[in-house]
């Protein structure tokens, strides 16, 4: 059974700090690993994604790091801002995938001003 385990469940970071959210996967297709951001009352929105043939991808203040041997990938938010306060979900395509995603449980991030 495909699983995506995300940690921590909640995270509080001071403005300007670094937010780090981790995701571990098993029994997934080795293809594409996205992170989604969800604000209250909104649907999730694709934030950033990484292919497994690279170890890191950076877009502005957001970076994904990928560790193939550990079957983990993580989201780093540099210079965290109050506007980054949201719930973040990692996802992975399950094995045999049919182009769908399995989502983690989510991390509620709060950035204190």
């Amino acid at each position: 059974q495909q699983q995506v385990k995300q940690s921590p469940q909640s995270l509080i970071v001071q403005k300007g700090g670094i937010s780090i959210i981790n995701c571990a996967y098993e029994n997934t297709a080795f293809d594409y690993f996205p992170w989604y951001q969800q604000f209250p009352g909104k649907g999730p929105a694709l934030l950033i994604a990484i292919r497994p043939d690279v170890s890191e991808k950076k877009e502005g203040r957001f970076t994904i790091s990928f560790n193939k041997s550990a079957k983990q990938f993580s989201l780093h938010i540099m210079d965290s801002q109050p506007g980054d306060s949201a719930t973040y979900f990692c996802a992975a395509p399950p094995r045999g995938g049919a182009q769908k995603l399995v989502f983690g449980q989510g991390t509620r991030l709060t950035i204190n001003p």
Binding site: Y36, G43, A49, R51, F89, Q99, K100, L101, F103, Q105
Partner: protein, 116 residues
């Protein structure tokens, strides 16, 4: 570009009643997904369509849930009869089909269902 549209945004019903949700995907997106998101959890896939056809409905409680996508565009998800545990946000998403673009899913705002 218009996003994924969903209606209604909120719905309150009593248990054993029926309810229907509507979704209009992004134009050109052949794949449509319905997810259930229980408070504090990640989205859980209920059903995936590609054009008119069902690709995956393995997690759809078929004794009470049904979904259709007529003409390969709009879709409706129905619950009949509803149970208390169906209280959740129902999210519709769409994507292109094929390659990694299929994993770039665009979500609607969701319908918050409360069953009392």
């Amino acid at each position: 570009e218009a996003g994924v549209a969903q209606s209604p945004r909120y719905k309150i019903i009593e248990k054993r009643q029926s309810v229907a949700f509507w979704c209009n995907p992004i134009s050109g997106h052949a794949t449509l997904y319905w997810y259930q998101q229980i408070l504090g959890q990640g989205p859980k896939l209920l059903i995936q369509f590609q054009n008119n056809g069902v690709v995956d409905d393995s997690q759809l409680p078929k004794d009470r849930f049904s979904a259709e996508r007529l003409k390969g565009v709009d879709s409706t998800l129905k619950i009949q009869p509803a149970k208390l545990e169906d209280s959740a946000v129902y999210l519709c998403a769409s994507s292109f089909t094929g390659g990694r673009l299929a994993y770039e899913q665009y979500f609607g705002p969701g319908t918050r269902l409360t069953v009392t």
